[in-house]
Each structure stands twice: as structure tokens, then as C-alpha cells.
């Protein structure tokens, strides 16, 4: 609402001879982009670290990855474990079972010879947890319950992936087969699965409690009319115990919102992480490498287990299918801008087709026909 006020202000200003010009501030030397380290040391499992580079604000490509680096997990007064590059910029260790009582750090040597080292961090062992759903008047709450030793870490972070079935706006019974044929559709494009990996940072702690118990910690709330709950919904939650320092890192990162730099936005703050460049301590390195383990849980929520809730389809904006005569159908469907939906009959005779845009018909544009391996 406040933003609208300022928008209004800007409109008034534009009426008052105001003007907007591109502005590229001169910032201190940005000769090279900074290294970004994404991942954690998994003390019981496979450690996966992604290396990339920061980009100038004006670029719109994917960030460039850091190839051919040498990565090593170093145990304090102990052995080292190498990571290998399994995909450009993605490095993986073997399946490791590290001593949770020790402290660890990650050593990186990039292809150009720069060396980076994360601060030694004590390992946290993530406790097991329960994942459940709770029906409320206004929707469905996905909850985590976890119970750990009071002396263990009291800081938590969760990541989750949601997968759900959905259907497109219109069921397509026909398909165009080049050259010039319209046939009954063989492969359904109405039902699909869609997976979303929200990048929202979800953290919690039990530091204010006299027990290390998180009860009914909300992970995500699904409003009752969401399309996610139309057929079947599944959520995979990953839980990580964090050190206090890592918790604070994620807390600030979550507050550095995507709103940036205007006079009216919250003040963001500079955040780097726990990694240092050994050759040049002044060079910023972005990312926090903690040492922890991962626990996962998945649950399914079926429509039949829920009250009868109205739902959205996600295709509300689709117009009613238009019709096309047989004569015009082939050229129309040949150029790909429209897909046939159903047949139009006069008596028993097919005289044309209804059609709509691919966006409204083809569920694959928003999801996949490949049944996820975990789907029950």
C-alpha cells in the first residue's frame, strides 16, 4: 500500500518535469567477479558443492560456473576428503561418515590458482523429525515436529520441494500430425506433475525454550483453494541443524529481500559468509559452508482426505475454446499457435474443431508427464 503511495508520488513527479535516467554508479574495482560457494559439508552422506561467480547487475544470463577447481573437506587434525567435479561447477564427495565431534572446513583451489578456505566449524548432527499435515478452516498446514538433545544445536533450517498433480485448462482429444493430418490424441497432455522448489528461506530455533523441542513448526501453509490440492500433493522436507553463526547468516540472507536500493525500501546489509580468500583477504567470497547432516521426510496429501474445498485450476484466465471449420483447421494447427480441444459435430458429422492456446491445453508447459519415481 505504501508502495502505491510512492507510485502516486512518482506519477505526480512525472507531471512536474521529473525525469528518470539510467544510473550506473561507479563502484570500487570490480575487475573480477567474486566466487560463490553454495553447499554444506555433509557429515553423513554425499557432500555437494556448487561453485559459481557473481554477475554484474546488468547481465541476464545464468551465472557462470567455476570449472576445474580442486575441493577438499578438511577435518581438524585429521584426514582430507576430495571432491570431484561431476558436472560443470558441481563438485561431489564420496559417501562419507565423518566424526560429528570434530570440526571441519572446506578448501578450494580454483583453476587460476586462488585458494579459499572456510572457517573451521563444528559439525551438527541433524535429528530425525516428523512431518505431518493439519487441516484448518482456511487451508492445510504442513508441520514439522522435532526433538533433540538439549545440548545439541538448537538452530534449524528447512528446505522443501512440493510436487502435485494438476490438469490443464482443456482436455485435448485430437492432435495435429504433420503433414496435414488431425488425429485422435494418443498421448494425454491433460494430467501432469509439477515440482516446485521454493527458494524461500525457512529457519527456526528452540533457543528460547528449556527443551530442544520444536512442536508443530509451520513449514508451509496451503490456502484451501490452491491448485496444489486439487488432486494429490506431496512435499519433501529436508531438515538441517545449524550452528548459531550459520543460522544468523541465513537470517540476514532472508532479510536481504529482492527489493533493492530505493529511498523507500528497507535497508539491506552486506553479507558474505564464512569463506576467506587466502591469497587476497580483501576479496569477498559469498556463501556459508557449514557442517551438518540432512534428514528428509516426504508425505502425500490426497484430495479425498481433505474437506470439500473449492479449488483454483491455475487456468482461470483461459478463454472459452473457439471453433474452426474443417477447411481452416489444418493451416491453423500447422503453425503451432493453437491446439485442438474437441470436435464440433453437426449430427454425426465432424464439421470442425474447438481449439485453444497451448498454454491452456498442454500441461507439459507447466509440468511433466513423467511420473516422479516417488509418486504413490
Amino acid at each position: 500500500m505504501i508502495r502505491k503511495v510512492y507510485l502516486f508520488l512518482f506519477i505526480i513527479l512525472s507531471f512536474l518535469n521529473s525525469c528518470v535516467e539510467p544510473f550506473s554508479p561507479e563502484v570500487k574495482s570490480h575487475t573480477s567477479s567474486f566466487l560463490v560457494v553454495d553447499g554444506f559439508i555433509n557429515i553423513s552422506g554425499v557432500t555437494t558443492i556448487k561453485l559459481s561467480r557473481t554477475q554484474n547487475l546488468g547481465e541476464n544470463m545464468k551465472p557462470s560456473v567455476e570449472n576445474r577447481a580442486q575441493l577438499q573437506i578438511k577435518e581438524e587434525s585429521g584426514s582430507n576428503h576430495n571432491l570431484t567435479e561431476i558436472a560443470p561447477g558441481t563438485y561431489q564427495s564420496a559417501l562419507l561418515n565423518l566424526n560429528p565431534g570434530k570440526r571441519y572446513q572446506l578448501h578450494i583451489r580454483t583453476d587460476n590458482g586462488s585458494e579459499y578456505l572456510s572457517l573451521l566449524t563444528s559439525a551438527s548432527t541433524t535429528p530425525d523429525f516428523e512431518l505431518s499435515s493439519r487441516i484448518q478452516n482456511d487451508g492445510l498446514q504442513i508441520l514439522v515436529n522435532t526433538n533433540d538433545n538439549p545440548n545439541s544445536s538448537r538452530y534449524y533450517r528447512w528446505q522443501y520441494e512440493e510436487t502435485y498433480e494438476f490438469s490443464s485448462g482443456y482436455y485435448s482429444g485430437y492432435e495435429y500430425k504433420a503433414p496435414g493430418k488431425i488425429e485422435a490424441r494418443q498421448n494425454d497432455i491433460y494430467y501432469c506433475w509439477r515440482t516446485e522448489v521454493p527458494t524461500f528461506i525457512k529457519i527456526g530455533n528452540t533457543s528460547g525454550l528449556n527443551q530442544n523441542i520444536l512442536s508443530n513448526q509451520s513449514i508451509v501453509f496451503l490456502p484451501k483453494n490452491t491448485e496444489k490440492l486439487r488432486y494429490k500433493y506431496s512435499i519433501l522436507v529436508k531438515q538441517y541443524s545449524l550452528s548459531k553463526e550459520e543460522y544468523q547468516y541465513w537470517e540476514i540472507l532472508s532479510k536481504n529481500t529482492e527489493q533493492i536500493g530505493t529511498l523507500f525500501d528497507p535497508l539491506p546489509s552486506q553479507l558474505t559468509g564464512n569463506i576467506q580468500c587466502l591469497n587476497n583477504p580483501a576479496e569477498p567470497v559469498l556463501g556459508f559452508v557449514g557442517a551438518t547432516s540432512e534428514k528428509q521426510k516426504r508425505i502425500f496429501v490426497d484430495k479425498k482426505d481433505l474437506p470439500v474445498w473449492p479449488y483454483k485450476t491455475g487456468y482461470e484466465s483461459c478463454a472459452i475454446p473457439d471453433t474452426v471449420g474443417l477447411g481452416d483447421a489444418v493451416p491453423l494447427f500447422a503453425n503451432g499457435g493453437s491446439l485442438p480441444v474437441g470436435g464440433v459435430y453437426r449430427g454425426p458429422a465432424l464439421v470442425g474443431y474447438t481449439y485453444s492456446t497451448p498454454d491452456c491445453v498442454d500441461c507439459r508447459l507447466r509440468g511433466t508427464k513423467v511420473r516422479p519415481s516417488f509418486w504413490q
Binding site: V5, C19, E21, V36, Q248, L253, T262, L263, F264, S269
Partner: protein, 927 residues
């Protein structure tokens, strides 16, 4: 006994410097003659012809007097006594054999014995070298003096006390309108004893009894003087003439030697005439805009009214409008100030050495006072500008006793919006108005009542969607009672309301109304006690009750699905006692010492969250809730505020002043924007938000050149502030049930040097100022997540080290004048996004350190022309045209720098509001 003395002769206006010898025993010339029914004129001629005596008298008084006298070889005094006594005339004869004849009391030719030794106890030696036949009249209730030459008798000559001193007090008023003249100097020159008239025009001087010439100098009035003969305590009401030539003339005039001789440092004083000459973007006189040209006062951008005084935040300024607190002093997001220039009289800004009377804000006090209204005749004034028009009417209700002034101002931007081709804009609304009303009633010469009402309101609507409204409403009532010449008191009651609401009705289901409100009621009693010439004591007490509705969101219409969200109200009480003493140790040294003890209580009812200690306060560290009952004290803060200043006059035209003051502030503005915006929230101190405390040390050197026509000053200051409010990253301020989780107590320091040169008179006048100043903040807590910039000092949002302002006026003639302003300042600090990257599959932005970079420097030049109608004093109406060009060079100064994500790119933009020269024309009239 031989004295050097000088005196100004009344009635004839001669100026004499005499070396008298007491008594007439040396005048051996004897008079012989037979005067039978001769005119006095002839009698005098005959004596002058036969002696060295020269007579001075008012022929008009004497032309009917006949002399019947026969004398033989008598000295002149005997002869004159015989001739004049029956008709109640007296005379005086000086060393040069000049004879002064007056009605009633004789002219005192000598100064009192202790004239040059003020403060020395001892009786006045009566010098009855003249025959005094005067029978003292009973003390007149009021002497309304208008003449410079007439001798005003003050007090009762018989009741003259033995101390040799008496107090004279009264008011300085404008002869035409009866308005109080504020801040004028009233003094005698030898010995130098003086004071200034206060906000009521009241003055009080304790002088040795005897003959004095009292001089009066002030802004906007003609310098004048009064001849008085002081016998005992008494009153002298002084009516002075407005300096008619500066009817909207381009003049900055101040008490000429105030720069050097005045006690106050860090005080900026502007009268409406100064204000009117400064060109503004819309041709409207804007006090806040002018204040921003003064050294030590800055703002973050040109569309913002919030001012930063000596490195303080925008909420650290106490803005008083006739003693009622104003919370939002601007219209239209800061493009206009919310004060109608036509009703204003003076604007005073205290930057340092803040008097003990004021408290509650850290950085400055801005005192705005309105005129009392013309007590003699009905008058009006107004102006028609591009965006606004205003009209002010004033006049007597009871002549010389009761007067009123009422002023209103409104905009027609609504109408302009309707003319625009853009349909969104056509459906938009933007309007504001302000209304002032002020009544002064003089019950008698000891009691006066002042009542002021003020309201300003702004409304905006974007398209048919969100409507926005805010309002200030104030009322104050003051009763001034003069106990005696040395003591007067003022009892003030005031009530201030500020509120805003935002309504959104675009969709029925989400239609809602967001409101915020604060109101404060305060009562204060201030006393001013002129104990003796050495000590002037101010003391008083005040209490303020704050009530805040911190925010509520309620559904609008029956179909809205918005759940009501109402924050519980806040209540607090701030009380203070103060006393200060102005001690004139010697004519060269004066000290003002004061202390103010303030106390604040946060009051229930309220539910307060308890947090785990040792953790950053946030929702997940809440462990309990404490309920406080209505009126229950939730937190108490109190402490002394010291105020001290010293003045040392080095030479007649140079002085050094130094001051220290401590301020405490119990109310905080929450705004995570750098400028002041109408959606800002004022928050009371509570369990978690401690009061802000600031100390300021300042020292200055003042020197006037070229017989006080050029004033120069250098002031330097160091300020430390603690517990002012800063924000955690990503703070949410609106509708936050636990604001303490998003704010943090920060500490700061500010220092700077302010140089100023003013030329007060002449065809070319104006001022130039340069300020170097820094203001730094530190947020250093035990908790890393709450720290900003690793707990190091960083520039505050309004840290602008270099600032240069030139206000120059050139007067071609009395009817045509021009002014040129230039201002340069370093760009405001900004936190920049430097790079983007991906972590956890999401795009993140790497920022610079907070306020590590700056927006481009600011430079602007404005030009204005004032064309007056003729200057006949008596004519139906005076009118003038102002033409001005704002931003003459068309420099695109950044108002805001912002970044937007567009197609995966993050692009930076610079918004300039006044990116081109903006010409305006205003027609002003006065009748």
C-alpha cells in the same frame, strides 16, 4: 564634583556634550528690568540682549504667557523662579548659560552619580541644581510612548527607592497593527544594559534611576529611542514603526550587534521578510525550505521536508507552532511546508545552547510564531500562485485590546489533475489545505490571553484505488500574567493531533482502511524572573500526555474479507521541571546555567512480550507475555538535562561563545526511509525502546565588520547521541505487533564546522555559508545478526560533508529587486547493490556496506525577481509580483536512486524531480 556627561536635549533636539560644573554660583550676571505684561518671547529677547544667556523652549507652549515682573539686580535663577513658578514652569541652566524652560519638571542636566558604576550600591545623589516645582503626578496606569523626543516619566519621583535602581517593563508593539515586536533589542548605551523583547513583545530592564535614552532596534522595525526619566519601577509601553520601506523588501536585517553581543549561539532567526525572498519551486514562500539554506541544516532530498540539524535525524526536531507540537510539517509529501507564510511572524531555530525551557527532542527546536493580528484596523493579504492560493484576514475585535488573524491556503492541483490526458491521473486526486486562526485578547495590562487553532490536511488518491489522507490539528491557549515588573508567567495548554489513514477499495474483497494516530495534551507553566541586572531566572514545569494508536487495518464494506488487525494503544507521560539563570558577570562575560529534569513513564494498558535474553529479539525468541493494567507504569526513564552557555565579548565587535547541552527524547519516529514521509510512525519509549540522549558541545567565534554591516561567524560542534532508533535489516514498521523485534538502539556522533558571512544592508545583501560536517552511526551489539557494518561507524543516511549555500539579493530600486541562490552539497549516502549471484537456487544480491556509496552531488541555482507596486504608505492595497526560476541550470539532481529487476537484469535509475528550470509567477497582495 566634576562629571563628564552627555545628554540629548528633548524638545529642541540639540545634541550637546557638556562639561558642567555644578551650580550656578559662577553666573554673576545680574538682571535688571521692568516687565509689565510683556510676552514671554519679548521677555526672553530682552534678557538675551543684555546677557550671555540663551533660552530654549517650546514657543507653542509659551506664546500665551505674559510676564509681570520688576527686578533690580537679581540673578537670573531668582528672576526666572519668580516669573515661572506661578504658571508651573521650570527651568534649568547649564554651564554654557543655556536656559531650558519646560513645563512641570525641570530638565535633569546631570547624570545620576552612579551612572558609570552600575551595580554599585549607593543612593543617587540628588542634583537639585534646578528648581523643581513639579508635583509628582499619580502614576499613570500606562504610558504608550510613540515619541522619540518626549521625555517619559517612569514611576513616582517621591517613592524612589534608595537602591538607585528601578525596573522598567512593558511591551514593544507595532504602531500600526498593535502587534507585539519580538526579539528586538532594547538597551541603554552607557552603561550597556539591555535585553530583548520576548515572544509577547515584553521586555524588562533594571536601570539606575535617572535620565536615560533607551534605544530600540529590531528586525523589520525602524530603529528608535525613548527618553525616559526613571524614578521608580514603572511601565513603558513602546510603540514602534514598521520599517515601511521593506514591505516585502529584500532585506535581511537583524539586531545589528546581536551576532556578537547576544547571549544565544546556534540560533537562527528569520522573519517573514527574509523568508519571502527566497525563490522556491512553486513560488510559494516556504519556511522549511529557507531553513534548509542555513548552515548546519540539511535534508536528504528536495522532495522531503524532513530536516537534519547538525547530524540529527528528522525526528529530533521539536516543531512548535505557537507552542503546540507539529508532527508533520509538510504538504504533498514535502513539496510545501504546512505553514501559511502570511500569518507567520518569526521562525527561530535553536541548533545549540537550547534553552532549558525546551526539551523532548535531541537536535533542535524550531519555534514558529504567528502574528497577533492587526489591533488597529482591518487588513488582509494573499497570494495567487501556480498551484496554491492563500488569503489572510486580520483586524481588531476590540480596538487595541482584542485582535484576530485568520489565514487559509488551498491548492487546485486537483483541478489540474482533471485536465490531464492520462485517465489514471484524471481519476486521481491531490489536495491539501491549511487553516490558522489566532485571537489575542488583552484583558488588562497584566493579563493577556492568546488562543490559536490550526489544521492542515492532505488527501491523495491514485486512480480509483488507494486514497491517502493525513491531518495535523492543533489548539493552544496561553495566558500571560504579569505579576510585577520583574516577574511574569505564562500558562500554556495545548493539544496536538496527527493522524493518517490509507483506504484501498480496488477490490471489494480486499477493501481496507489503515489508520495511525497520535495525540498529545500538554500543560506547562513558564516563569520569567528579572531578579536584578545580574540575574534573569527562567523556571517552569510541564507535562505531556501522549496517546498513540499505532495502527489498525480494518475491512471496508461488508464484502471485505480483510481480518481486522488492530495494534493496542500506547500511552506515556513526559514531565519536566527546569530552571535557568542568565548571569551577567560583567558587561563582557555572561553565563547561562540551566538544568531540566525530565521524567517519562510508559503507561498501560498493554501486553508486552518477553524475549529470551542473549538472542536477537524476534518472533521465535518470544517466551512470555506480561499484561499491564490501565495506567500501570511499564517503564520509567528520567534524568537531568544540563544546559550551559557562556559569552565572552572580546572587543566591541567580536566575541566568543561556548555551550553545552544535553537533551533527552522519549518519542521516536520510525521510518525506514531516509526522508520524512507521511506514513511515518511515532513510537513512544517503552520497556525495550530506551529514550534517546544527546550531548552537544559547541564553540563559536563571532565578528562584525564595517560597523556591524557584515556579520561573520565560525561555529564548531561535537555531538554524541545514544539510543536513537535504527532498524534491523528488512524491518517491518507498519502493523507490527512487536516493533521491538525490528528496531535497535544505535549510537552516533556528529561534528562539524559552520562558517557564515552575512551582509545585512545595502543594495547587495545576503549570506553565504559553508559547512563541513560528518554524522556517523554505529550499531554494535553482542549479536552478530543485529550488527550493521560489523559494528563499525558508518555514515548516517544524511551525512553530507560539504555544503555551501549562497543567498544573494540585489536591489535595483525600492520597487525592483532580484535574488540569486546557489546551493551545493555532497551526495547522500546510499547502500548499493554491487553484484548478483545464486545460492540455494535463488537469485541473491550482494550489497555494499550500509551507506558505503553516495548519490551524485547536489547543485542548484535559483533566481527570483520581485516587482513591487508603488510605495505610497497610504493606499488601498499593496501588491507585488514574484517571478522565479527554480533550478536555473536545469541540473538533474537525483531525488532518488533505485534499482529494478527487469528481464533478469538489475538496472539502476536516477529520478530527478526538478530536472529542468521551473519558472513560476505569483501575485501577492496586501490591504
Amino acid at each position: 564634583m566634576v562629571f563628564f556627561y552627555r545628554t540629548l536635549l528633548i524638545a529642541l533636539g540639540s545634541f550637546l556634550v557638556l562639561l558642567p560644573v555644578l551650580g550656578q554660583q559662577n553666573n554673576t550676571k545680574l538682571i535688571t528690568g521692568d516687565f509689565q505684561n510683556v510676552k514671554f518671547e519679548q521677555f526672553v529677547r530682552e534678557i538675551e540682549a543684555n546677557s550671555t544667556y540663551r533660552f530654549y523652549y517650546d514657543p507653542a507652549l509659551m506664546d500665551t504667557i505674559k510676564v509681570n515682573l520688576q527686578v533690580q539686580g537679581k540673578p537670573l535663577p531668582v528672576v526666572l523662579e519668580q516669573a515661572l513658578k506661578p504658571i508651573n514652569f521650570t527651568f534649568a541652566i547649564d554651564q554654557e548659560n543655556q536656559v531650558y524652560i519646560t513645563k512641570g519638571r525641570a530638565i535633569e542636566l546631570n547624570l545620576p552619580a552612579n551612572f558609570f558604576t552600575p551595580g554599585q550600591a549607593g543612593a543617587v545623589i540628588a542634583q537639585n541644581n534646578v528648581i523643581n516645582t513639579n508635583t509628582a503626578e499619580p502614576e499613570r496606569p500606562r504610558t504608550r510612548s510613540t515619541s522619540e523626543l518626549k521625555l517619559y516619566e517612569i514611576g513616582n519621583s517621591r517613592s524612589a527607592n534608595g537602591s538607585g535602581k528601578a525596573t522598567i517593563a512593558g511591551h514593544l508593539r507595532d504602531i500600526k497593527s498593535g502587534e507585539a515586536v519580538i526579539g528586538a533589542s532594547i538597551y541603554i548605551e552607557a552603561p550597556l544594559i539591555g535585553g530583548t523583547s520576548d515572544q509577547f513583545g515584553y521586555y524588562s530592564l533594571t536601570l539606575p534611576v535617572g535620565r536615560h535614552e533607551v534605544k530600540i532596534k529590531g528586525v523589520g522595525i525602524k530603529n528608535t529611542r525613548r527618553q525616559i526619566m526613571l524614578h521608580s519601577d514603572g511601565k513603558l509601553e513602546i510603540e514602534v514603526e514598521e520599517d515601511i520601506t521593506n514591505l516585502k523588501e529584500v532585506v535581511i536585517e537583524a539586531e545589528k550587534d546581536k551576532n556578537v553581543a547576544g547571549m544565544q549561539m546556534g540560533l537562527e532567526k528569520l522573519d517573514i521578510k527574509t523568508l519571502k525572498q527566497v525563490p522556491t519551486a512553486f513560488g510559494e514562500t516556504d519556511i522549511l525550505r529557507v531553513i534548509l539554506t542555513l548552515p548546519g541544516v540539511k535534508s536528504v532530498g528536495e522532495g522531503s521536508t524532513g530536516m537534519n540539524v547538525r547530524g540529527g535525524a528528522t525526528d529530533q526536531n521539536l516543531i512548535l507552532f505557537n507552542d503546540a507540537t507539529i508532527y508533520n510539517p509538510s504538504h504533498l509529501f514535502g513539496f510545501f511546508s504546512a505553514f501559511n507564510p502570511d500569518v507567520l511572524k518569526t521562525v527561530e531555530l535553536y541548533k545549540s545552547a537550547i534553552p532549558a525551557k525546551y526539551g523532548g527532542r535531541l537536535s533542535s527546536v524550531l519555534e514558529i510564531s504567528t502574528r497577533d493580528g492587526n489591533k488597529k484596523q482591518f487588513a488582509g493579504s494573499g497570494g495567487i500562485g501556480l498551484l496554491t492560493s492563500r488569503l489572510t484576514l486580520e483586524g481588531p475585535i476590540v480596538k487595541d485590546k482584542t485582535s484576530f488573524i485568520i489565514g487559509g491556503r488551498t491548492t487546485y492541483s486537483d483541478w489540474i489533475l482533471k485536465q490531464l490526458p492520462n485517465s489514471t491521473l484524471r481519476q486521481s486526486e491531490a489536495s491539501f489545505y491549511d487553516v490558522n486562526a489566532h485571537i489575542t485578547h488583552e484583558i488588562n495590562d497584566k493579563n493577556t490571553i492568546y488562543a490559536t487553532g490550526y489544521q492542515s490536511q492532505d488527501k491523495f488518491k491514485l486512480g480509483t484505488d488507494t486514497a491517502f489522507q493525513y491531518m495535523n490539528r492543533n489548539a493552544s491557549l496561553k495566558w500571560k500574567h504579569i505579576f510585577n515588573n520583574k516577574l511574569y508567567g505564562v500558562l500554556t495548554g495545548a493539544h496536538s493531533i496527527f493522524n493518517y489513514n490509507i483506504t484501498s477499495d480496488k477490490h471489494e474483497s480486499t477493501a481496507s482502511k489503515l489508520t495511525y494516530g497520535i495525540n498529545q495534551s500538554n500543560v506547562q507553566a513558564d516563569f520569567n524572573f528579572f531578579l536584578n541586572p545580574t540575574h534573569t531566572i527562567d523556571f517552569g514545569a510541564s507535562t505531556i500526555l501522549y496517546q498513540v494508536s499505532p495502527g489498525s487495518q480494518t475491512p471496508l464494506g461488508s464484502k471485505s474479507l480483510i481480518a481486522p488487525n488492530i495494534l493496542s494503544n500506547e500511552k506515556g507521560q513526559e514531565s519536566a521541571l527546569y530552571i535557568s539563570d542568565l548571569i551577567n558577570i560583567s558587561p563582557r562575560i555572561a553565563v547561562q546555567l540551566g538544568v531540566r529534569y525530565s521524567m517519562y513513564k510508559a503507561l498501560g494498558p498493554k501486553d508486552v512480550f518477553e524475549y529470551t535474553s542473549g538472542l536477537s529479539r524476534n518472533e521465535s525468541s518470544i517466551i512470555d507475555t506480561t499484561h499491564y493494567k490501565n495506567g500501570e507504569v511499564m517503564a520509567t526513564y528520567h534524568g537531568p538535562e544540563y544546559r550551559a552557555s557562556i559569552k565572552y565579548i572580546l572587543t566591541d565587535n567580536s566575541s566568543v561563545k561556548a555551550s553545552f547541552n544535553r537533551m533527552r527524547q522519549y518519542i521516536h519516529m520510525l521510518s525506514n526511509t531516509a526522508s520524512m514521509s507521511p506514513t511515518d510512525i511515532w513510537k513512544l519509549s517503552d520497556r525495550y525502546i530506551r529514550p534517546q540522549i544527546g550531548d552537544q558541545y559547541a564553540i563559536g567565534y563571532y565578528r562584525n565588520l564595517r560597523s556591524n554591516t557584515i556579520e561573520t561567524s565560525v561555529e564548531t560542534y561535537y555531538k554524541s547521541m545514544r539510543d536513537f532508533v535504527d532498524y534491523k535489516n528488512g524491518a517491518t514498521l507498519i502493523l507490527n505487533h512487536h516493533i521491538e523485534t525490528d528496531v535497535i538502539n544505535a549510537e552516533g556522533k556528529a561534528y562539524g564546522v559552520e562558517l557564515m558571512v552575512k551582509k545585512l544592508t545595502g543594495k547587495i545583501n545576503g549570506w553565504a555559508s559553508y559547512t563541513y560536517s560528518r554524522t556517523l552511526v554505529r550499531v554494535n551489539t553482542a549479536l552478530a545478526s543485529d550488527m550493521v557494518n560489523d559494528g563499525k561507524y558508518y555514515p548516517s543516511n544524511f551525512d553530507k560533508p560539504h555544503d555551501f549555500t549562497l543567498i544573494g539579493n540585489y536591489r535595483f530600486s525600492r520597487r525592483f529587486s532580484t535574488s540569486l541562490n546557489a546551493t551545493y552539497s555532497t551526495g547522500r549516502p546510499i547502500t548499493l547493490p554491487l553484484a548478483k549471484y545464486e545460492i540455494g537456487g535463488a537469485q541473491r544480491v550482494y550489497y555494499s556496506q550500509r551507506n558505503e556509496y553516495r548519490v551524485p552531488d547536489y547543485f542548484r541555482m535559483d533566481f527570483a525577481m520581485n516587482i513591487e507596486g508603488n510605495h505610497k504608505v497610504r493606499k488601498l492595497s499593496h501588491s507585488s509580483w514574484s517571478l522565479s526560476v527554480y533550478n536555473l541550470t536545469g541540473r538533474k539532481n537525483p531525488y532518488s536512486v533505485y534499482f529494478k529487476t527487469e528481464n533478469g537484469k538489475i538496472n539502476g535509475y536516477k529520478l530527478s524531480i526538478f530536472g529542468q528550470p521551473i519558472p513560476t509567477v505569483t501575485y501577492n497582495f496586501k490591504f
